[in-house]
Symmetry: C2
Subunit: 248 residues, 2 copies
């Protein structure tokens, strides 16, 4: 499995992904799932991928080739984020048109999702999008400051409780790491390295790019602190008052 | 959807369930999913259900009828929890033998799960079991002090972080309520009333039975306290030290 998330707040954008890939429990490997295709000063574009690895890799290969050969339309010259997202959906559909039927015959799911976040010079603010397996897309809005793909459920409660559009971008980054850590704790098919980028809106340049490996002291420290603080929080919540509550 | 969980610690057993039933988003109703079939002084038996409502209701109807007509084998005279669980699996299979093929023809999932917890006089300690849709079962062990059925993922992180076999039973009950509350917050298809029972091992009598309704002041208070304490916990976790961590 995979877990990727994007968070969009008033101050910027955070995107993060785990790196575990598995084809059954006996074939576990590490795969990059967060790709920085930015052109600093002109545009920030970050893509996270989940789902069928051959489909996402083929799609990303086409995207990169267009950049390399400076195709007439490529991610470095498309004028808006909206069109970047449509372009990625079109590349995905091109791959699916070749492969999907072959996979379907053997009952293999070709499904995959992409998160696309960033800002192109001229865009008023950063935006965050989710491309569906069919190539269509939705966009994060003020009501939903985050989007997730892959194994999203374990890591959602902390996002639901902590995040708003007003959350400072550094806190959003910490929240993203804790959301991924919660997922790794509950599901063995999500694992390090964790990649995370922080982009402050309007700067057209990624401010930070973390890559926390399995044996990262910081990841261990973060987990330990969070477990300890969660237990304190749990203890501080009032106990059940059985006599009163049972009358309710 | 549904979310039910059972927690087994050294001091006893907690079982809890939400009560929302839905057949699509426009047909939401309330259904009891936690059933107390105890015979105080002789046995405590609590069953929680998830999945296809017609199958679980039919199964529970058969179980109750056997008690009512004092059938030769019924839940009030079966000598061990292990056999209680086998009996429930057999009733489920009886229902499936009648209905499953009819449901399958129309692509309807007959799948359902049961949690069965309790203690029969003569058992050394309480036990907790999960009956699969095929009628077979597993049992909670020291390594896994909880079992969940239904929409289990959102509520798992808090259980993973807080529970051990040493957790006092009152804390386990609080943890169960917070686990269900986390699920309700993240998934609209899980909802109140929340039913919860607390059983202290060896007493052969349920000690507490809570039923928290939608407008319960206690549920609101618990959620508010937990959200507040979680935010405090989040703030107390060290911020990301970008300069150091990016070198890692």
């Amino acid at each position: 499995m995979t877990y990727c998330l994007g968070i969009l707040t008033h101050s910027g954008l955070v995107m993060a992904a785990d790196s575990r890939s598995n084809a059954g429990v006996d074939y576990i490997s590490t795969q990059q799932k967060l790709f920085d295709l930015s052109l600093p000063g002109d545009r920030v574009i970050v893509i996270c991928t989940s789902g069928n690895l051959s489909v996402t890799q083929s799609t990303m290969a086409l995207v990169r080739r267009d950049i390399k050969i400076q195709a007439e339309v490529n991610i470095h010259n498309i004028p808006t984020m909206h069109e970047v997202v449509r372009y990625l959906g079109a590349k995905l559909r091109y791959v699916l048109a070749q492969d999907q039927e072959w996979l379907r015959r053997d009952g293999i799911d070709a499904g995959c999702n992409f998160l696309v976040g960033g800002q192109v010079r001229g865009d008023d603010e950063p935006s965050l999008h989710l491309v569906y397996p069919q190539g269509n897309a939705i966009q994060a809005s003020k009501e939903t400051p985050f989007l997730q793909i892959g194994e999203a459920k374990y890591g959602k409660p902390i996002l639901d409780r902590v995040l708003t559009m007003q959350t400072p971008i550094e806190d959003a980054a910490k929240c993203a790491l804790l959301s991924i850590d919660s997922t790794m704790k509950s599901n063995i098919s999500v694992g390090p390295p964790i990649n995370l980028i922080l982009y402050r809106g309007g700067t057209l340049k990624i401010e930070h790019h973390l890559s926390l490996k399995r044996n990262s002291t910081y990841l261990a420290k973060l987990r330990q602190e969070w477990e300890q603080e969660l237990k304190v929080a749990f203890d501080r919540v009032s106990p059940i008052e059985w006599d009163v509550w049972e009358q309710d």
